[in-house]
Protein backbone atom coordinates (compact mmCIF):
# COMPACT_ATOMS: atom_id res chain seq x y z
CA UNK A 1 0.00 0.00 0.00
CA UNK A 2 2.16 2.83 -1.21
CA UNK A 3 1.57 6.53 -0.72
CA UNK A 4 0.60 7.13 -4.32
CA UNK A 5 -2.33 4.72 -4.16
CA UNK A 6 -3.53 6.03 -0.78
CA UNK A 7 -3.47 9.60 -2.06
CA UNK A 8 -5.20 8.67 -5.29
CA UNK A 9 -8.02 6.74 -3.62
CA UNK A 10 -8.71 9.38 -1.00
CA UNK A 11 -8.64 12.18 -3.58
CA UNK A 12 -10.97 10.35 -5.92
CA UNK A 13 -13.34 9.67 -3.02
CA UNK A 14 -13.39 13.38 -2.18
CA UNK A 15 -13.93 14.31 -5.83
CA UNK A 16 -16.79 11.89 -6.34
CA UNK A 17 -18.59 12.64 -3.08
CA UNK A 18 -18.33 16.41 -3.36
CA UNK A 19 -19.41 16.39 -7.01
CA UNK A 20 -22.37 14.16 -6.16
CA UNK A 21 -23.34 16.57 -3.41
CA UNK A 22 -22.84 19.54 -5.71
CA UNK A 23 -25.18 18.33 -8.41
CA UNK A 24 -27.99 17.44 -6.00
CA UNK A 25 -28.24 20.65 -3.98
CA UNK A 26 -31.28 22.85 -4.38
CA UNK A 27 -29.42 25.91 -3.11
CA UNK A 28 -27.05 27.00 -5.87
CA UNK A 29 -24.49 28.57 -3.55
CA UNK A 30 -24.11 25.27 -1.73
CA UNK A 31 -23.64 23.53 -5.05
CA UNK A 32 -20.90 25.96 -6.08
CA UNK A 33 -19.06 25.57 -2.77
CA UNK A 34 -19.13 21.77 -3.04
CA UNK A 35 -17.84 22.08 -6.57
CA UNK A 36 -14.96 24.27 -5.34
CA UNK A 37 -14.03 21.43 -2.94
CA UNK A 38 -14.14 19.03 -5.87
CA UNK A 39 -11.87 21.28 -7.92
CA UNK A 40 -9.34 21.54 -5.10
CA UNK A 41 -9.20 17.76 -4.91
CA UNK A 42 -8.86 17.58 -8.70
CA UNK A 43 -5.98 20.02 -8.52
CA UNK A 44 -4.23 17.78 -6.00
CA UNK A 45 -4.88 14.84 -8.33
CA UNK A 46 -3.19 16.74 -11.15
CA UNK A 47 -0.19 17.35 -8.90
CA UNK A 48 -0.17 13.68 -7.95
CA UNK A 49 -0.05 12.67 -11.62
CA UNK A 50 2.85 15.03 -12.20
CA UNK A 51 1.46 18.30 -13.54
CA UNK A 52 2.18 21.01 -10.96
CA UNK A 53 1.50 23.94 -13.27
CA UNK A 54 -1.88 22.48 -14.19
CA UNK A 55 -2.65 21.99 -10.51
CA UNK A 56 -1.98 25.64 -9.79
CA UNK A 57 -3.91 26.74 -12.87
CA UNK A 58 -6.87 24.59 -11.86
CA UNK A 59 -7.07 26.41 -8.54
CA UNK A 60 -6.53 29.83 -10.07
CA UNK A 61 -8.77 29.53 -13.13
CA UNK A 62 -11.41 26.98 -12.20
CA UNK A 63 -11.87 27.38 -8.47
CA UNK A 64 -10.68 30.96 -8.31
CA UNK A 65 -12.20 32.63 -11.35
CA UNK A 66 -14.98 30.51 -12.79
CA UNK A 67 -16.62 29.53 -9.51
CA UNK A 68 -16.29 33.04 -8.12
CA UNK A 69 -17.98 34.30 -11.29
CA UNK A 70 -20.77 31.81 -10.66
CA UNK A 71 -21.13 33.11 -7.12
CA UNK A 72 -21.28 36.72 -8.30
CA UNK A 73 -23.97 35.92 -10.82
CA UNK A 74 -25.98 33.92 -8.28
CA UNK A 75 -25.74 36.72 -5.78
CA UNK A 76 -26.79 39.45 -8.20
CA UNK A 77 -29.80 37.55 -9.44
CA UNK A 78 -32.85 37.15 -7.30
CA UNK A 79 -33.54 33.58 -8.30
CA UNK A 80 -36.84 32.14 -7.26
CA UNK A 81 -36.90 29.08 -5.01
CA UNK A 82 -40.40 27.81 -5.53
CA UNK A 83 -41.02 24.97 -3.15
CA UNK A 84 -43.02 23.04 -5.66
CA UNK A 85 -40.13 22.98 -8.10
CA UNK A 86 -37.62 21.52 -5.65
CA UNK A 87 -35.68 18.39 -6.48
CA UNK A 88 -38.37 15.96 -7.53
CA UNK A 89 -37.76 12.26 -7.42
CA UNK A 90 -39.61 11.74 -10.66
CA UNK A 91 -37.26 14.15 -12.36
CA UNK A 92 -34.21 12.17 -11.26
CA UNK A 93 -35.20 8.54 -11.74
CA UNK A 94 -34.60 8.35 -15.46
CA UNK A 95 -31.24 10.24 -15.46
CA UNK A 96 -30.00 8.07 -12.58
CA UNK A 97 -31.01 4.95 -14.45
CA UNK A 98 -29.20 6.18 -17.53
CA UNK A 99 -26.19 7.02 -15.37
CA UNK A 100 -26.03 3.49 -13.99
CA UNK A 101 -26.37 1.88 -17.39
CA UNK A 102 -23.66 4.12 -18.87
CA UNK A 103 -21.35 3.41 -15.92
CA UNK A 104 -21.77 -0.34 -16.35
CA UNK A 105 -21.09 -0.11 -20.08
CA UNK A 106 -18.05 2.12 -19.61
CA UNK A 107 -16.57 -0.09 -16.87
CA UNK A 108 -16.97 -3.12 -19.14
CA UNK A 109 -15.27 -1.25 -21.99
CA UNK A 110 -12.45 -0.06 -19.75
CA UNK A 111 -11.84 -3.58 -18.44
CA UNK A 112 -11.58 -4.90 -21.97
CA UNK A 113 -8.92 -2.35 -22.82
CA UNK A 114 -5.44 -3.93 -22.78
CA UNK A 115 -4.07 -0.65 -21.38
CA UNK A 116 -6.26 -0.78 -18.30
CA UNK A 117 -3.90 -2.99 -16.35
CA UNK A 118 -0.91 -0.68 -16.66
CA UNK A 119 0.47 0.86 -13.53
CA UNK A 120 0.54 4.61 -13.70
CA UNK A 121 3.67 6.36 -12.52
CA UNK A 122 3.55 10.11 -12.14
CA UNK A 123 5.13 11.81 -15.11
CA UNK A 124 6.57 14.89 -13.49
CA UNK A 125 6.77 17.90 -15.79
CA UNK A 126 8.23 21.16 -14.60
CA UNK A 127 6.55 24.43 -15.64
CA UNK A 128 9.55 25.30 -17.82
CA UNK A 129 9.17 22.14 -19.85
CA UNK A 130 5.43 22.45 -20.33
CA UNK A 131 5.70 26.14 -21.19
CA UNK A 132 8.44 25.50 -23.76
CA UNK A 133 6.48 22.62 -25.25
CA UNK A 134 3.30 24.65 -25.44
CA UNK A 135 4.91 27.60 -27.12
CA UNK A 136 7.07 25.52 -29.43
CA UNK A 137 4.42 23.15 -30.72
CA UNK A 138 1.09 24.87 -30.10
CA UNK A 139 1.92 28.56 -30.47
CA UNK A 140 -0.93 29.00 -32.96
CA UNK A 141 -3.37 27.50 -30.48
CA UNK A 142 -2.17 29.88 -27.78
CA UNK A 143 -2.68 32.86 -30.07
CA UNK A 144 -6.13 31.63 -31.06
CA UNK A 145 -7.07 31.11 -27.42
CA UNK A 146 -6.04 34.65 -26.60
CA UNK A 147 -8.21 35.87 -29.47
CA UNK A 148 -11.04 33.69 -28.18
CA UNK A 149 -10.77 35.20 -24.72
CA UNK A 150 -10.94 38.65 -26.26
CA UNK A 151 -14.04 37.68 -28.23
CA UNK A 152 -15.61 36.28 -25.05
CA UNK A 153 -14.82 39.53 -23.26
CA UNK A 154 -16.50 41.60 -25.97
CA UNK A 155 -19.49 39.28 -26.04
CA UNK A 156 -19.95 39.27 -22.27
CA UNK A 157 -19.62 43.06 -22.16
CA UNK A 158 -22.17 43.51 -24.91
CA UNK A 159 -24.64 41.14 -23.29
CA UNK A 160 -24.07 42.67 -19.90
CA UNK A 161 -24.88 46.13 -21.15
CA UNK A 162 -28.26 44.87 -22.22
CA UNK A 163 -27.83 43.90 -25.83
CA UNK A 164 -29.14 45.83 -28.81
CA UNK A 165 -32.26 47.59 -27.51
CA UNK A 166 -30.56 49.58 -24.78
CA UNK A 167 -27.52 50.75 -26.72
CA UNK A 168 -28.03 54.39 -27.52
CA UNK A 169 -26.06 56.57 -29.89
CA UNK A 170 -24.10 59.49 -28.58
CA UNK A 171 -25.39 63.00 -28.89
CA UNK A 172 -25.00 64.49 -32.31
CA UNK A 173 -24.61 61.16 -34.06
CA UNK A 174 -27.13 59.75 -36.41
CA UNK A 175 -28.56 56.39 -35.32
Amino acid sequence: MNLFAVCFYSLSAIILVSTALAITRVNQVHAVVYLVISFFATSLLFYLLGAPLLAVLEVIIYAGAIMVLFLFVIMTMKTDHPKSKATLWRQWIFPLLMWLVCIVISVVLILRDPDAGLRIMPYFVSPVEIGTYLFKNFWLGVEIVSLLLFVALVGALYLGKGGAPSVRCGEGEKP
Binding site: A22, I23, L49, L57, E58, I61, W92, G117
Partner: protein, 101 residues
Protein backbone atom coordinates in the same frame (compact mmCIF):
# COMPACT_ATOMS: atom_id res chain seq x y z
CA UNK B 1 -1.28 -1.74 -4.29
CA UNK B 2 -0.64 0.72 -7.07
CA UNK B 3 -2.93 2.68 -9.28
CA UNK B 4 -3.97 1.24 -12.60
CA UNK B 5 -4.65 3.31 -15.68
CA UNK B 6 -8.15 1.87 -15.91
CA UNK B 7 -9.01 3.17 -12.45
CA UNK B 8 -8.20 6.75 -13.37
CA UNK B 9 -10.19 6.39 -16.57
CA UNK B 10 -13.09 4.98 -14.56
CA UNK B 11 -12.94 7.97 -12.21
CA UNK B 12 -12.98 10.34 -15.16
CA UNK B 13 -15.90 8.51 -16.77
CA UNK B 14 -18.00 8.48 -13.59
CA UNK B 15 -17.33 12.17 -13.07
CA UNK B 16 -18.23 12.96 -16.68
CA UNK B 17 -21.49 11.03 -16.38
CA UNK B 18 -22.29 12.92 -13.18
CA UNK B 19 -21.91 16.12 -15.16
CA UNK B 20 -24.25 14.76 -17.82
CA UNK B 21 -26.84 13.86 -15.17
CA UNK B 22 -26.59 17.36 -13.72
CA UNK B 23 -27.05 18.93 -17.13
CA UNK B 24 -30.12 16.89 -18.00
CA UNK B 25 -31.89 16.49 -14.67
CA UNK B 26 -31.73 20.03 -13.37
CA UNK B 27 -34.07 22.73 -14.56
CA UNK B 28 -32.11 25.72 -13.33
CA UNK B 29 -29.90 27.27 -16.02
CA UNK B 30 -27.04 27.85 -13.60
CA UNK B 31 -27.03 24.20 -12.54
CA UNK B 32 -26.89 23.17 -16.19
CA UNK B 33 -23.76 25.31 -16.61
CA UNK B 34 -22.29 23.70 -13.49
CA UNK B 35 -22.89 20.32 -15.12
CA UNK B 36 -20.96 21.48 -18.17
CA UNK B 37 -18.07 22.55 -15.93
CA UNK B 38 -18.00 19.15 -14.23
CA UNK B 39 -17.85 17.48 -17.66
CA UNK B 40 -14.91 19.63 -18.76
CA UNK B 41 -13.07 18.91 -15.53
CA UNK B 42 -13.55 15.18 -15.97
CA UNK B 43 -12.11 15.39 -19.48
CA UNK B 44 -9.12 17.20 -18.00
CA UNK B 45 -8.51 14.36 -15.54
CA UNK B 46 -8.61 11.80 -18.36
CA UNK B 47 -6.16 13.86 -20.43
CA UNK B 48 -3.64 14.24 -17.61
CA UNK B 49 -3.88 10.50 -16.95
CA UNK B 50 -3.21 9.80 -20.62
CA UNK B 51 -0.26 12.16 -20.55
CA UNK B 52 1.14 10.22 -17.58
CA UNK B 53 0.58 6.87 -19.22
CA UNK B 54 2.28 7.63 -22.56
CA UNK B 55 4.76 10.07 -20.98
CA UNK B 56 4.17 12.83 -23.47
CA UNK B 57 3.18 16.41 -22.83
CA UNK B 58 0.30 16.62 -25.29
CA UNK B 59 -2.36 15.77 -22.73
CA UNK B 60 -1.29 18.47 -20.34
CA UNK B 61 -1.11 21.01 -23.18
CA UNK B 62 -4.68 20.18 -24.14
CA UNK B 63 -5.82 20.70 -20.57
CA UNK B 64 -4.40 24.23 -20.80
CA UNK B 65 -6.59 24.95 -23.76
CA UNK B 66 -9.61 23.32 -22.14
CA UNK B 67 -9.26 25.49 -19.06
CA UNK B 68 -8.88 28.63 -21.14
CA UNK B 69 -11.90 28.09 -23.28
CA UNK B 70 -13.97 26.81 -20.36
CA UNK B 71 -13.37 30.18 -18.70
CA UNK B 72 -14.41 32.00 -21.89
CA UNK B 73 -17.50 29.83 -22.27
CA UNK B 74 -18.59 30.35 -18.68
CA UNK B 75 -18.19 34.10 -19.04
CA UNK B 76 -20.36 34.24 -22.12
CA UNK B 77 -22.85 31.72 -20.71
CA UNK B 78 -23.31 33.63 -17.49
CA UNK B 79 -23.66 36.89 -19.41
CA UNK B 80 -26.40 35.20 -21.43
CA UNK B 81 -28.10 34.03 -18.23
CA UNK B 82 -27.96 37.53 -16.79
CA UNK B 83 -29.43 38.92 -19.98
CA UNK B 84 -32.21 36.33 -19.96
CA UNK B 85 -32.96 37.00 -16.32
CA UNK B 86 -33.19 40.69 -17.02
CA UNK B 87 -35.59 40.09 -19.89
CA UNK B 88 -37.87 37.49 -18.33
CA UNK B 89 -37.17 37.48 -14.62
CA UNK B 90 -36.55 33.77 -14.18
CA UNK B 91 -33.75 31.27 -14.70
CA UNK B 92 -35.97 28.24 -14.72
CA UNK B 93 -35.69 26.53 -18.06
CA UNK B 94 -39.42 25.87 -18.32
CA UNK B 95 -39.93 29.58 -18.90
CA UNK B 96 -38.10 29.33 -22.20
CA UNK B 97 -40.27 26.65 -23.71
CA UNK B 98 -42.08 28.95 -26.13
CA UNK B 99 -40.43 30.85 -28.94
CA UNK B 100 -41.60 34.44 -29.11
CA UNK B 101 -41.06 37.07 -31.69
Amino acid sequence: MTVYYGEILALSTILFLMGVVCAIARRNLIMILIGVEVMLNAAGIALVAGSARWEVLDGQAMVFFIMAFAAAEVAVGLALILFLHRRTGSVHSDTYSVMRG
